[in-house]
């Protein structure tokens, strides 16, 4: 997000406190509280979208107990869907959510039911390789069909926004935050209030018991995969106006999403959301203090630090 670059320069009129800060013998630039705060806020916006990608991943992990390597390429595919809906049909990327989210669900459902479930015979190590294979196929197909060019959806309002005093929040950022929170809330309601959601939670922990109350486990697996894919489709729609898409686009987000899932606790929704915000804020502050490229190491640093003290992640449950 360009927020980092924008806030890296101390706002005019706000005085930096002190000249230099020293940390572990490294001289750090010093910024005013307002700048730091503004940077943290853009971290919240960024973290919200990370959380959305992580949410789908953690759901699939929680139920199927598999690491879905195809998650990133599904995000990329959904980004291209949003892009072409805009380019060819003139559909606004946010409106496109109404198409790509149900589409993502069906695609994920079919993928699990027809390919992953069929080929894996219920063995976790095979599932892992199948998702990796799917990722490779999707990426290379995208490379072949769309070439490696970067493409960006342009919306007329991408620079409009609200002045929050310490930072300027553009509408795409606000939409990403609002959309992520709304989708997390809907997902939580779905998982706790509906029979299908409860069945998903039941299958996650006790497959035999689930089958004995008449739950079709294959169907529930596919629904979970479908919802996970719908989550990345929603994320794609929220990201499209800010990030240019290209066939390798998924890596960036999915690597961070994996970090968030482990950090928050495998299979935990709250963990994914909180973890997303932690990583988003850390990343933005890291960029502010250490620069664009070095700043990213703060993600790994906080990741290792949290796991040192809580090996199961922030909201993870101890393995029974």
């Amino acid at each position: 997000m360009d927020g980092a670059a924008a806030t890296a320069v101390p706002s005019a009129g706000l005085l930096p406190f002190g000249d230099k800060m020293e940390f572990l013998g490294i001289d750090l630039p010093s910024y005013s509280w307002a700048t730091v705060f503004g940077s943290a806020i853009s971290g919240v916006f960024l973290g919200a979208v990370y959380a959305l990608v992580a949410l789908g991943l953690t759901l699939i992990y929680g139920v199927l107990h598999i690491i879905n390597f195809a998650h990133g390429s599904l995000l990329m595919l959904a980004m291209f869907a949003v892009y072409f809906l805009w380019k060819l049909l003139g559909i606004d990327p946010y409106v496109a959510m109404l198409i790509v989210v149900p589409g993502g669900f069906l695609f994920g459902y079919g993928l699990q039911r027809l390919i992953i479930g069929q080929s894996s015979h219920g063995r976790d190590e095979i599932i892992l390789l199948v998702t990796l294979g799917i990722a490779i196929v999707i990426e290379n197909a995208a490379l072949f069909a769309f070439s490696a060019d970067e493409r960006l959806v342009q919306v007329p309002y991408d620079m409009d926004g609200i002045d929050l005093g310490v930072t300027y929040a553009v509408y795409p950022e606000l939409a990403a935050l609002g959309g992520s929170l709304l989708i997390t809330l809907l997902l939580w309601l779905f998982m706790t209030r509906t029979d299908t959601g409860k069945a998903i939670r039941a299958v996650a922990k006790e497959r035999r018991g689930a089958r004995l109350v008449g739950i079709n486990v294959d169907h529930i697996f596919a629904i979970s995969f479908g919802i996970g894919t719908a989550c990345v489709a929603a994320a794609a729609s929220l990201l499209a106006a800010t990030y240019p898409v290209h066939p390798q686009f998924g890596y960036l987000f999915v690597l961070i999403a994996f970090t968030i899932v482990v950090l928050g606790g495998m299979g935990s929704f709250v963990g994914a959301l909180v973890g997303g915000f932690i990583i988003g804020i850390t990343e933005q502050l890291g960029r502010l203090y250490l620069g664009e490229s070095l700043g990213l190491i703060t993600i790994s640093a906080i990741f290792i630090l949290i796991l040192l003290f809580r090996p199961t992640g922030l909201f993870g449950q101890r393995v029974r």
């Binding site: 029979d195 409860k198 069945a199 939670r201 039941a202 996650a204 922990k205 006790e206 035999r208 018991g209 689930a210 089958r211 004995l212 109350v213 008449g214 739950i215 079709n216 449950q317 029974r320």
Partner: protein, 233 residues
């Protein structure tokens, strides 16, 4: 009501059951007895549709359910309360019970919930507690309660007394008698020979994947072979 004919079944091509035949008539309690490894759970799993039998036939109320899916079996009202309870540990007691009505008994969920709490007042006290935090006896109650939520026509109870204290075992058998008193047909799979035979109408004794003995429960209690092998008399 339930008719199993010449059932051959097992896992990964290894045959465990070598031609089992048994039946349960409406309103009966039928006990299936046998030591560990006799094939009792394999029998249950095949009846409930968790595994496909190699050969033979299973019919429930005139419908052929040989190799049917577990959803289909549950839908027909043939419900198993499994050995080891298999409650959903990450969900509350209430949610566990509600899921009992996932496939069958959905319309009467509220009434069924009341019925279960009448039988197990202790479960109502624990409604908001996670099932994984319950004691073994409470989990067994929950598993049976979840089974009742499914409005069973025939309830298979797999080792309901396993791992319970002697007092709780007595309570459990009293409860089974109570459920039977309400007209429910029960297939009771147990290692606890004396108490099961005292409760049941008829019984089958399994050994090494075959039916070694069968008959009226009262007469089996007097059977010298059974006394020798199971009661050490």
């Amino acid at each position: 009501m339930l008719e199993v004919r010449d059932l051959h079944a097992g896992y990964d091509g290894v045959e465990v059951l070598h031609g089992i035949s048994l039946q349960v008539k409406p309103g009966e309690i039928v006990a299936v007895l046998g030591s560990n490894g006799a094939g009792k759970s394999t029998l249950n799993n095949n009846i409930s549709g968790l595994y496909r039998p190699f050969a033979g036939a299973i019919a429930f109320e005139g419908t052929d359910i040989t190799g049917a899916s577990s959803e289909r079996v549950v839908e027909l009202g043939l419900v198993q309360v499994p050995e080891g309870r298999c409650v959903f540990p990450n969900m509350t007691v209430r949610e566990n019970l509600e899921l009992g009505g996932y496939r069958r008994g959905r319309e009467h969920r509220a009434q069924n919930l009341e019925r279960v709490t009448e039988v197990f007042p202790r479960l109502e006290e624990r409604f908001a507690q996670l099932a994984g935090t319950l004691s073994g006896g409470e989990q067994q109650m929950l598993a049976i309660g979840r089974g009742i939520m499914t409005e069973p026509r025939l309830l298979i109870l797999d080792e309901p007394s396993l791992g319970l204290s002697p007092i709780l075992v007595d309570e459990m058998f009293a409860l089974i008698r109570q459920l039977h008193g309400q007209g429910l047909a029960i297939l009771l799979v147990e290692q606890n020979v004396v108490q099961s035979l005292t409760l049941a109408d008829r019984a089958y004794v399994m050994e090494n994947g075959t039916i070694a003995l069968s008959g009226m429960a009262a007469s089996l209690l007097e059977n010298p072979d059974l006394k020798r092998s199971y009661l050490g008399m």
